[in-house]
């Protein structure tokens, strides 16, 4: 801690007092470091609305309304979700047979639930059908949540396709799941028949 000299006409100007004056910089820096190591002082970490670029090992941020993250030097790692998400609803539904398949997306949508707060959605989409030709593995499917395509992993065999998708955050309001499928070329459009499609989903709502 720096103790200033109370300079008056009667205070001698000497090397000791001048050297004391020279310690102001280090006193401030020492104080700052002490604050960082003071376990009685309130500390708040950086709060962000979007994760910044990673690359500062050890940096911690609170992603507002979601969770605590730390930077491992390359990526942001989620430490814990702070929003208190809990499973609030789930279901399955099936729709329409599949006969023929266009190269345009065939879309089926359903409003599965309505959230009063933000939520996390998980969904999967499967389709089984009879394949009259051997030209399999030329179809595509995907899942949309509120018009946003979910990242997913596609499985395709001769008579079956399925896609699983990870959790997607959605805001309060209706949750609309869209299931889409299509053929990748016209040559594979008419060889599918007697198909069935189904979707499974679950939603975790914040603070319930």
């Amino acid at each position: 801690m720096y103790t200033p000299t109370d300079w008056t006409e009667q205070v001698a100007l000497n090397a000791a007092r001048l050297n004391n004056m020279e310690t102001q910089y280090q006193s401030i820096i020492d104080y700052g470091e002490a604050l960082k190591g003071d376990d009685s002082a309130k500390k708040q970490i950086e709060v962000v609305t979007t994760l910044p670029v990673a690359g500062n090992f050890g940096r911690m941020v609170l992603l507002k309304d979601f969770g605590l993250h730390y930077d491992d030097g390359t990526n942001w790692r989620l430490v814990t979700v702070l929003s208190g998400f809990a499973l609030s609803d789930q279901g399955v539904f099936s729709f329409g047979g599949v006969t023929g398949m266009s190269t345009s997306w065939s879309t089926y949508t359903r409003t599965v639930t309505t959230l009063s707060r933000q939520g996390l959605i998980y969904a999967s989409f499967a389709m089984a059908y009879e394949e009259s030709q051997e030209n399999d593995r030329h179809r595509e499917m995907r899942i949309l949540v509120n018009d946003t395509v979910m990242e997913g992993s596609l499985i395709e065999t001769k008579n079956f396709m399925a896609i699983t998708a990870g959790a997607v955050r959605v805001g309060a309001g209706d949750v609309v799941i869209g299931a889409q499928s299509r053929a990748l070329s016209g040559a594979h459009s008419s060889s599918v028949e007697n198909g069935m499609r189904g979707v499974g989903w679950a939603v975790w709502e914040e603070g319930v």
Binding site: L13, A15, L18, N19, M21, E22, T23, Q24, Y25, Q26, I28, I29, G32, E33, L35, K36, G37, D38, D39, S40, A41, K42, K43, Q44, I45, E46, V47, N56, F57, G58, R59, L62, K64, D65, L68, V79, T80, L82, S83, G84
Partner: protein
């Protein structure tokens, strides 16, 4: 950049040396924020025997073997460490 002290026992009382001494505050203000991100300086969590009122978003605290974080609306457990 760190301030270089003048040793007045071996230096003359000059305008230059006195003005140099006057730069300490500004140098400290510029360097102090680096303390926040320095990874070689120990950082202690706030330690308390009881969980205080929430309402300070981003506040981390250690209470009786549990680390909590305040999201502004309530305390959440980050980890149990004891």
């Amino acid at each position: 950049m760190p301030y270089t002290q003048t040793d007045w026992s071996t230096s003359n009382l000059t305008v230059g040396n006195l003005n140099h001494a006057e730069t300490q505050y500004e140098e400290a203000v510029q360097d102090a924020p680096d303390i926040r991100t320095a990874t070689d300086i120990k950082t202690y969590l706030e330690v308390s025997s009881t969980l205080p009122s929430y309402g300070n978003e981003g506040r981390l605290i250690y209470v009786d073997g549990v680390i909590y974080i305040d999201n502004g609306d309530e305390w959440f457990t980050v980890a149990e460490v004891a």
